[in-house]
Symmetry: C3
Subunit: 271 residues, 3 copies
């Protein structure tokens, strides 16, 4: 298989940073296919970067290497990490960016990046994506053994991502964790939560409703299960509950954004 290095950063697409990183990856592995996931993560927003990674990495073939950099602490003592999990490799700062990936894979292997032979000859104090993470990702994609990166690492920084919660009443409370370009609102309620809810109602989607901004919306399979312009809730493509509007913009229609509370109520709760 041809080596693949996928990039996810907050560098933006206007400045030269993403371009320099690609050069550095290719300098380490000229055969690599470089893939942009996004460079438009909100500057220094580690949560947004972690969500974007979690929502996309499983679509890639095994063997892919992900260089993930949202790095407000560049130049401090924070470690650089390489992680092997689920057939993939991940390279980036040890600042919580990989929290969701690590939660997905109990058996993940971690290494601290210490081997200068895998880095750029001169390492700056302000651009580790170009000087450390990009080159390490390129070398790993090109076949460098994972152990070569550096010593085993423990206790990666795990950030407290919002989780949905089942209340005593049987109702679930969640919050909006991402708003996409179309105005769809992704929540903290994940696939495992959703399956638990389905069990509560014997698998009958029509027995649950979502409540966002005080409005009750049906839980459906796809946007077009409601009329044009109507809101609904569904298990979205990133395996999280999301609020959407058929051919419309849920964030605008409902006046909701990041952090907004969303509830899921099984039908046996009286409406």
């Amino acid at each position: 298989m041809r080596p693949i290095v996928a990039l996810l950063t907050d560098f933006g697409s206007r400045d030269h940073y993403a371009g320099a990183v690609k050069g550095a990856v290719l300098a380490a592995c000229s055969e690599a296919q470089i893939v942009d996931i996004t460079h438009e993560v909100k500057p220094q927003d580690i949560f947004e970067g972690a969500f974007a990674l979690a929502a996309s990495y499983r679509a890639f073939p095994a063997g892919a290497v992900f260089m993930v950099v949202v790095d407000p602490g560049v130049g401090t003592a924070r470690r650089g990490l390489a992680v092997e999990a689920g057939g993939y490799r991940f390279v980036g700062p040890d600042n919580g960016l990989l929290t969701l990936v690590l939660q997905d894979h109990a058996g993940a292997a971690l290494r601290e990046i210490t081997n200068p032979a895998l880095c750029r000859r001169e390492v700056s104090k302000t651009f580790h994506a170009r000087d450390i993470f990009g080159p390490v990702a390129g070398h790993l994609a090109g076949g460098a053994p994972f152990d070569l990166v550096g010593p085993e690492a423990r206790d990666p920084l795990m950030l407290p991502f919002p989780r949905a919660r089942r209340e005593l009443s049987g109702e679930w409370t969640a919050q909006v964790v991402h708003q996409d370009r179309f105005g769809n609102l992704t929540t903290s309620l994940n696939l495992a939560d959703f399956q638990q809810i389905l069990t509560q109602v014997n698998g009958d989607l029509r027995s649950i409703v979502g409540i966002a901004a005080g409005i009750v919306v049906p839980v459906v399979q796809t946007y077009s299960d409601v009329l044009e312009g109507e809101a609904c809730a569904l298990l979205g493509s990133s395996d999280r509950l999301e609020i959407g509007v058929n051919r419309g913009n849920a964030a605008a229609l409902l006046g909701l954004g990041m952090g907004a509370p969303v509830r899921i109520r099984p039908a046996r709760v009286v409406l």
Copy 2:
């Protein structure tokens, strides 16, 4: 030749969607060279997507596969199509996105996408670019026979794109169908129309003028045929008449945008 998969979507470059699609293409064909045409088509604007495709695909070498997704109807009964035309393959929803390509190629072959073996193992109801169109594009680029996609398809949805019209007076009326980043205004008057106009005036460009926002502008070969800051009309690089300003912004100068009327008047019409 190395397989090429070119992507054109309205997913934006901030969210993870385009990245997930790339992963899915590579999961189907890890050798593919993935090329971003644009992911910044206005959300759900099928016309804009169709114009961007029509203006760019011919620059690619034969054999390229285009995955084209602007898909407000995802999850409905709308079909998925694969098209073979002009040495290229196109994959996307049957919603009019391919209208201009199909108009270019009378002998195009169409297939409805029905073969699950070419799709992702699990197909969501909301993200067919990742689960159907991307994988099909990857497999086609990697050598899968076109017939394998599914049964022959007829009657693809064709959208009524604005066309320029020759009036009884000999004058042509058109409208602005695209405004680019530089403020150039592309119109609905295409190459065939333009050649017909040239015939009307015996090939003499100087015998025609464009009229936009009530202002008469010369028809020239390139922007610099007029003085800096002056407006002109010319046959643009996408083989359509466009209004531009030498080293300036025509949209701003003339106060024109999408849908604005533009006329072309041969010289024998008295000015």
Copy 3:
């Protein structure tokens, strides 16, 4: 090594232009790995394009070809150039875009692009990136001899980029030449200048200060050498002095932008 063609333009990522250029590169060399540096250079801003190129090209492996197009004079008599320097090749209009690269490499070889065999069959007057520069870049990446491009060229257009200046007092004056997405402000004071300043103070960073917007900031090695929210000056990753704020936005905090004056004062000047 696999051929690499890196693209740097002001075409934006919304329109189809960058996509068409990629198609044209691949039509000339289907094996090329295409790399986007940026397409978001401010429209027609040659200075910004030149800075972005100078700040990124050295990260690439030798052999890479750069197609660099910010070209307000397309269609005029301005020449097209190919340059061989430092193991790289550069292709673009002769309008000053390559000034900083040429200043880096005294022994650069220059050719005027005149060979139609390396261009697209039909060459438009308004889109030379697709019809000339992209195809030439592809052919060079694919192995076409550099001499084939056209005759030797002399006297490329060199633009007067702002330079830092050492005043009689020993103080240096510079100006902001780039503001990035994070609000960091890159100045015209380059590596050679900085090394000269270090010599003035016997290599002791703590003996110099930066002054921007009337505020004295310490010169440090990395952002985190100052407290969170505090401003500092440092030799940035693009080998120029830059003003930044630890986990903050210097442009916003200091109210500074493009062209703003910045001074560097060795300690022996009384503060």
